[in-house]
Amino acid sequence: MQTIFKIIFLMSFLFFLGQVSAEDNVKHFLKLNKDGIKVYYYNHKNFNLGTFKAITYINTSLASTLAVMFDNESYPDWIHACTKSFVIKEISFNERYHYQILNMPFPFTDRDFIFHSILKQNPTTKAITIILTSISDYCNDKQSSQCNEVKKSNLVRVIKSIGTYKLEPYDKVLKITWVQHTDPTGNIPNWLVNQFIVDTPYWTLKNLAQKVKEYKYSKLIYDNDGFAVTLIARKQKPVKKAKDFDHFPTF
């Protein structure tokens, strides 16, 4: 019975996501257009959650971007307000579960997520879509070391969150479209939700554009049908820049 409820719940989310996507051109409006990142805010009558859509173009490859997205330990470096993330279970190249903690400003309690991610590919255009769905109780009946760590958490577990990253390669540029719907769970004031709706996509995509440079030698291996089956992630040590050091002289 529980499984049926989960399926119904997931289908409902996907239905709402479809609704939102279908109405992209009608129901969203631009909240931020900065540094090549456009953030749209949704005011969807059927989806009263923190919802945004963000679009940017990054001068990078699909492989580099996937390498960053597959490296959960790097999430605090580029995902806005993320303090920790790790893989709970990797099912295949196309499917995995991961855990993620979101830092909330005082006095609010930090949130944590368990995401199920499904990777879908278009073998012709090579575009990849990653669908993230929160499965808050995934670890409840599991005994792995990762799940045991998740179960120790006393943070507020986010129940409703679903998002998609669409990665579309064009020549030397990658178009990233990120749509996210999240009910932060519990009492969070609207102003904070609205702040996250703008800050999260802006800073995350801005940081991502820098982070991918560390993974620029990564490579995707495709099968005969044009589907990516393996990612060879090559991470290199970031080159230090003057900006990385404290240099604030005074008299």
Partner: protein
């Protein structure tokens, strides 16, 4: 004449307003990072005052005054960073150390200390390797003699500076720094009862300050860094004016401070 402390306060408030006004408006909170820091160090302090010509009752010169002391210093500061701009507030105080004055058959043992505070607005240039900056600073040296003499040397005003640095072996940043300050100075000397009368001094002056030094900064962890500085600060007081003085004023007053310090910073 307005008390120098009130003037200093007004300048500090005005410069703070100015820096806040200059800072880009409509900032997102997350675009600003805050870097508190604290430091300890050692300062080699020296003070020189030229003889006061004919200031003694017999018409002879009151001798030169020279103090040297090694001060332990500690301070704290907060740097707010937005993009290429930074705003820094800092305060530093010293231990109380001793030196003595000998001259014209007088001997007096002094205890003295020094404190400084400043606010700085800077902009990174040349791909973050260089910095140009302006700000306000106030420095005050106080001395108390065991024969009752009270001394205060204070300078405050605006400064401008430049700095440039190099990344060394991917591990740290080596920078040189030079700054010039156009200051107002005030020297107060209230001699103890054993000295001849009329030597009291409460003089305002123009003052210039020159600061130059070298620094090394490196990361301990992602959020924590350390910084080692060696700095020299020279202050020269010119055109002393004291409308109440009955004796001649010194022609030349100088302070030199050579400081080595180590700071720890934390990135929020």
């Amino acid at each position: 004449m307005m008390d120098i402390r009130i003037k200093s306060l007004i300048k500090l408030i005005l410069s703070s307003f100015l820096t806040v006004y200059i800072f880009p408006q409509n900032l997102q909170a997350d675009e600003i990072s805050f870097i508190p820091r604290t430091w300890i160090g050692v300062s080699d302090y020296s003070f020189y005052q030229s003889p006061r010509k004919g200031a003694m009752p017999d018409g002879s010169d009151f001798p030169k005054v020279k103090f040297d002391a090694t001060l332990l210093i500690a301070g704290f500061g907060l740097t707010s960073v937005y993009d290429r701009f930074f705003l820094d507030l800092s305060y530093q105080d010293s231990s109380e150390e001793t030196d003595s004055f000998t001259g014209a058959n007088y001997f007096e043992k002094f205890e003295g200390d020094r404190r400084d505070y400043s606010t700085t607005l800077g902009m990174k240039i040349l791909d973050y390797r260089g910095v140009i900056y302006v700000g306000y600073k106030n420095g005050k040296t106080s001395g108390r003699g065991n024969a009752g003499t009270q001394l205060t040397f204070e300078e405050d005003g605006l400064f401008i500076g430049v700095s440039y640095g190099w990344i060394v072996a991917e591990t740290g940043f080596l920078a040189i720094n030079v700054a010039y300050a156009d200051l107002d100075g005030n020297l107060k000397e209230v001699p103890g009862p054993r000295y001849p009368s009329g030597l009291n001094l409460d003089a305002d002056s123009e003052a210039t300050g020159l600061s130059y030094g070298i620094s090394w900064s490196a990361k301990i962890s992602e959020k924590i860094s350390y910084l080692i500085n060696f700095d020299a600060n020279d202050y020269t007081f010119n055109n002393l004016k004291d409308s109440t003085a009955t004796k001649s004023l010194p022609d030349k007053v100088e302070e030199s401070i050579y400081t080595g310090k180590i700071s720890i910073t934390y990135h929020f």
